[in-house]
């Protein structure tokens, strides 16, 4: 087995891991700030990909305008979602917010099946077929762009969380809601922004992966399974923990997937989640904040 093969698997794994990270970080951010597990998170990834498909294929837009529009729409949807549904869940118990987002996921997913049918759609653009060679490694341009978008989103999220006042407020609310309230942080503004960013990241993931994989209404469902495992492994509410766990998982998946049947990969995800829960329940990168 030549080294190139491993390097190729590694590279593919990093790309997919970065996309997992986009979804898992949003999920983890929303959980950290609102204490709501957003069961509809995968559906926003699916809707992002669907919108990207329609913008590219039906409206004939190019790659970058598509990505921009999808992210802008996703951020707006995040605001609306918070104001219309999630804001009233403040102080409600955890199960109620889960059931609410589960209901939303059922509406979005089955609505998409009804409107668009389950036939996979391909976003065939010139990107999907052009490759670049990196010293013997082949990387399609669409994957390279996905990687770049993912890394840019990491950087932007880092800057927001650690270099702006609102980001600091967000971390404050995640650490202690009561203490944040006492020092005059408005939890509503912070929560709204957290949801908007989380949904925006999901939409971005959808737009970035639309040219790589087929687009269909059930795509969010299988993805969110991994995202949940990732946020448990990374520590519930820990955004950077989720990012690291996601990239590692993407790489492992790709390496294992090169040799073993796919079912082993999914089983690995689940077994590692259970192992983390048994050995280190606060997550590998848990931050000691009560969940």
């Amino acid at each position: 087995m030549d080294l190139n093969f491993y390097a190729q698997l590694l590279l593919n794994g990093i790309v997919i891991g970065v996309i997992y990270a986009l979804i898992a970080m949003g999920l983890s951010l929303i959980f950290g700030v609102l204490e709501i597990v957003n069961f509809a998170h995968g559906e926003f990834y699916m809707l992002g990909a669907m919108l990207a498909y329609f913008l590219t294929v039906n409206a004939g837009l190019g790659y970058w305008p598509t990505v921009l529009i999808v992210v802008a729409v996703a951020v707006c949807v995040g605001y609306v979602l918070y104001e219309a549904l999630l804001a009233s869940m403040r102080g409600a118990n955890f199960e109620r917010s889960i059931l609410l987002t589960l209901g939303l996921s059922m509406v979005l997913q089955n609505g998409a099946v009804f409107l668009f049918t389950t036939t996979p759609k391909m976003v065939a653009s010139s990107l999907s077929y052009s490759n670049i060679l990196l010293g013997g490694l082949r990387l399609s341009l669409s994957r390279l762009y996905a990687l770049g978008l993912g890394l840019a989103a990491f950087a932007a999220l880092y800057l927001i969380l650690y270099r702006t006042r609102i980001g600091k407020a967000m971390r404050g609310v995640a650490q202690s809601r009561d203490a944040a309230l006492m020092v005059g942080i408005d939890p509503r503004a912070v929560s709204r922004l957290a949801v908007a960013i989380g949904i925006g990241l999901s939409g971005l993931a959808g737009a970035a992966l639309a040219p790589v994989y087929a687009v269909h209404p059930l795509m969010g469902f299988s993805f969110v399974f991994k995202a949940f495992a990732i946020i448990i492994i990374g520590g519930l509410g820990n955004v950077s923990g989720a990012a690291i766990a996601a990239v590692v998982l993407g790489i492992l998946e790709s390496l294992i997937g090169g040799f073993l049947p796919l079912v082993m990969v999914d089983a690995l995800v689940f077994v590692s989640m259970i192992a983390v829960l048994l050995l280190r329940p606060q997550g590998l990168f848990g931050r000691g904040v009560r969940v």
Partner: protein, 326 residues
């Protein structure tokens, strides 16, 4: 007559009507609705035990249901076990899996349990589809034989007609609800409710929450596994669609509408919603959109379900100041 006596009469009358249905009609559609009601009522009753009484939101019921179905189908077809031992083994396997999941995730929190139970249900679907050497993949195991039961007294009951399956599942559902009823009305049920209402307080009264939570999970998994084992023989096939999220969503809606923690409310909601496909003759996709919308509306407007809402009204009536007597 006391309220309890009236309720007992209503229940007996309902059982008599349900028992008599196959005598009046052999219409397959009616019997299919009956089988579906029996099956869903056991699933939603188990979910009610875990979520409604003990306060643990679980998405794993469908996993237990499917594990029971696959285990029973494989044991009967590959190893020649009888239906009852196969279904019982499926139920026990499901209960064992439930204990593993519950034990590992409840050490962290209820939240982790909810997430892990969902991942578990999705994992079951993936394993059933992709572990081809055991489960035969997406095609499933078709052509399950009509089971034969040896009844006491030497008669053999060949379960082949829809009416036979109706009685089989009806009988098991009555048994399962009797078990659930005994649990929720006993000390066990009170302890579970105490844990749901205030876990630290329950703990300070000497209740070990983990033990009761695991008991609720294991019992609901056992019942779901057995009903899965029986149901696949009615379908005559088991394939990965037995793990479909549709079952989870339907049983959740039944519990939410009926009112979590209300035994009769959930049972009644199961009956109504099992018959609902007849009233809502549009495609499954639209029905699930509607169920999702109902779930959202219920969470925004009546978080304690119809049963809980009625109970709140009853309490409000008690609290209403009595007109001052002269």
């Amino acid at each position: 007559m006391s309220a309890g006596g009236a309720r007992a009469l209503v229940v007996l009358a309902a059982l008599a009507v349900l028992f008599a249905i196959p005598q009046f009609t052999s219409h397959e559609y009616v019997l299919a609705l009956g089988v579906s009601f029996a099956m869903f009522s056991v699933l939603s009753g188990g979910l009610n035990l875990v979520y409604g009484y003990t306060g643990l939101l679980s998405f794993a019921q469908v996993g237990f249901f499917g594990i029971g179905g696959y285990a029973a189908a494989l044991l009967v077809t590959e190893l020649g076990w009888s239906l009852l031992t196969g279904a019982a083994a499926g139920g026990l396997l499901a209960a064992a899996v439930g204990l593993v999941i519950g034990y590992s995730s409840l050490r962290l929190s209820r939240h982790a349990f909810a997430i892990v139970s969902l991942s578990f249900a999705l994992l079951c679907l993936i394993v059933a589809r992709d572990w081809v050497s055991l489960t035969r993949g997406a095609m499933g195991i078709p052509g399950l034989p009509a089971p034969v039961l040896d009844l006491p007294g030497g008669t053999r009951w060949r379960i082949a007609q829809p009416a036979d399956f109706y009685y089989l599942l009806f009988g098991f559902a009555v048994f399962a609800h009797a078990v659930i009823y005994l649990v929720v009305t006993s000390r066990l049920g009170r302890a579970m409710r105490a844990i749901k209402l205030n876990e630290p307080l329950a703990q300070s009264q000497g209740i070990n929450p983990l033990a009761y939570k695991l008991l609720a999970i294991a019992l609901s998994a056992l019942l779901a596994g057995i009903v899965g084992g029986l149901f696949v023989f009615y379908l005559t096939i088991v394939d990965p669609s037995i793990f479909d999220f549709y079952y989870t969503e339907t049983m959740l809606i039944m519990v939410i509408i009926g009112g979590p923690g209300s035994f009769w409310g959930v049972l009644l909601a199961s009956a109504v919603l099992a018959a609902l496909p007849d009233l809502l003759r549009f495609t499954t996709d639209l029905r699930m959109v509607l169920y999702g919308a109902v779930l959202i509306a219920a969470m925004l407007l009546f978080p304690s379900g119809v049963g809980g809402w009625l109970q709140q009204r009853r309490i409000a009536r008690w609290r209403r100041p009595q007109p001052a007597s002269q």
